[in-house]
Symmetry: C2
Subunit: 380 residues, 2 copies
């Protein structure tokens, strides 16, 4: 049995199911009305501004009829119906997250254990079957990373991958970039070096939120790709030393790329990025393009460097790493705000040709949400 | 007379010019060495990781020779030269900004007084004269907004504007979008409504950081464009009521667009965005696409709504507004993280045809930095 109780001056109402009391403010309810005068029936966009709603709005009456709450607002004397399910889904009367670095329930952090169930799909399946595409995009949303196999072995095939969910983010590196390496025994020492795991382009703001790396040729032994979950790295750092986690989140680093391409790209952002309420929303880590860090107070700089060093050690720990070899026609995607990637060293001669490009997570998440909605609608 | 003093264990050194003492940690100096083994002479990228530098690094000797500080590090027994000018430019031994909502010295906030000196340039000048382009991009960096006049009156001319500094950000709306309005006396009431000033696409994450709106036809009376500096709005809100400023910065709003274009775009970001050290870096304000706000605690929601309402009132205050009419061949750009834009109502019949597109501030700032560097080099 659900009760609905108004407070004395009607500034909020309380839904009480006997176990839980959930309060909603009058102004919040009025602002979120879904009647045709408030919201467009076509696209859900709000047709009025907050200034069109009286500041002194209160609830003059509220009645439960089945699954609907009918609310009458004063002074407008306007009645609006709310689905109870919508109200409970959007309830805000709950304790706040207090642990800095929390993640959404839809995010699952990982380490080397992900090797046993690599997120992967086949190009044909995701191209032809919306359910397969939904599963694959869901993996990227959950893990920040997935492989795609059995794709075409042809130049610019990566554009067909991006078209599955979004749009290329063009940069000074072009709409796509070439990663070609010729490995011969005389320069193995150099090419064998590998690269420390990093996020791409931290000197760009906004950073590209998706990177695609597509293999077209891979005859050299070694040169595996590896990925590390930056969110798990941040969680582990926090577990080891909360002050180290906090110092990397509290102060901005500087990143710079001023290469030979006629660009001077600079950004000032933290290595661990939190939303204002503590949600972990990004990691930036790139030894090559970290510029002088100038916004950490002198008294905190030694702690900052200890934290930065430890973050790098955790990233380099093989227990954190998922590695895989890409064959021609295979690619992988990372959420570049979260997952670091690297190339391992080579152990033999041969050629390696990859094409890469950037895109954005917002359109990927949108495509996923559309597929989920269609799937639900079809199931009903 | 400049002195250089080491502390007892060599973990930092102090530059003392008799008035100011500026300290630098050994690990910071070592990490920022510019010798050929640490940094690529080609592109300035760091060749080593922090883990390649001993954690116990200290300064064993430091000598001033003219404008150079020569530092010897233990245990590596490695000597590195630093230009004193570089050290003082990158000094971090200074009091932190304590006022939430500070802005960089290169940012100048404005209100209606900007009408007397509108940032504007001519298309021909910025297309042919690097100094004119530098001035114009500098205005956009400083004010978050500028006009461009005397451009070609032809479809997709806006792409030539974007090419001056960067790359189009393609979205579900395409590489560009059409804004066509036919105003006739029978529906003036509707089209005459205008739009509340807003930032574009707050439901996208990352938001497009530049918007270009290019006029191709404008025969209707009225329909002026107007812009409002969201940074000045935030500053004014803070001056009026600091708690209102803080509540909009501390909690995330939700934004959503689930229109008919097969998209469900959602974001969770604050209306006033601060870097972790309080720099004001973004404003999101859009009555049409603000979704139910669900991450403000119950006890703060009434304050949040009061703050949100006041922010809208400040935005609507004519004293904040810069308005102008665009003729065919004219366009304006906004930094969409900062400057709100709107269209005013019409007062007569006619046609209006604009093309719009998105791009990003990072490449614009890069182009500006390259031009400034070339200009300095030419002057030397």
């Amino acid at each position: 049995m659900l009760d609905c109780i108004l407070n004395k001056d009607g500034t909020y109402l309380t839904l009480d199911d006997g176990k839980t009391k959930t309060r909603f403010h009058a102004i919040w309810l009025r602002d979120n009305a879904w009647d045709a005068a408030t919201r467009s029936a076509d696209n859900g966009q709000r047709l009025i501004a907050l200034g069109d709603i009286p500041a002194e709005t209160s609830v003059s009456a509220a009645t439960l009829v089945g699954d609907t709450l009918r609310v009458t607002f004063a002074p407008e004397d306007k009645s609006v119906d709310y689905a109870l399910s919508w109200l409970l889904e959007n309830a805000y009367d709950r304790p706040a997250n207090t642990q800095a670095g929390w993640t959404k329930p839809s995010v699952e952090t990982w380490d080397n254990d992900l090797m046993s169930h690599l997120p992967v799909a086949s190009f044909d399946a995701v191209s032809s079957d919306p359910a397969a595409l939904q599963r694959w995009l869901g993996q990227i949303a959950r893990y920040g990373f997935a492989k795609l196999t059995n794709g075409p072995i042809e130049e610019l095939a990566l554009m067909r991958v991006v078209k599955l969910f979004g749009y290329v983010r063009e940069t000074n590196y072009g709409r796509h970039f070439e990663v070609r390496t010729e490995v011969n025994p005389t320069n193995l020492a150099y090419t064998g070096l590998g690269l420390q795991a990093h996020t791409d382009n931290p000197y760009r703001d906004p950073v590209p939120t998706v990177q695609v790396l597509y293999c077209l040729e891979s005859s050299a032994a070694g040169g595996e790709n590896m990925v590390v979950d930056g969110f798990r790295v941040a969680e582990r750092l926090r577990a080891e030393n909360e002050e180290w986690f906090n110092v990397l989140a509290r102060y901005c680093a500087n990143f710079e790329y001023a290469g030979s391409d006629d660009v001077i790209l600079q950004s000032r952002r933290p290595m661990i990025e939190l939303a204002p309420d503590g949600e972990l929303i990004g990691v930036r880590f790139n030894n090559r393009s970290t510029a002088a860090i100038t916004d950490v107070p002198f008294d905190e700089m030694a702690t900052y460097y200890a934290a930065y060093r430890r973050m790098g050690e955790i990233i380099d720990d093989p227990a954190m790493e998922v590695s895989f070899r890409l064959e021609p026609g295979e690619c992988f995607l990372v959420d570049n705000r979260r997952v670091l990637h690297a190339r391992k060293g080579y152990s033999g001669a041969g050629k390696r040709w990859f094409q890469g490009c950037y895109a954005d997570m917002d359109s990927l998440n949108s495509k996923l949400a559309v597929l989920e909605t269609e799937h639900l609608a079809a199931a009903e």
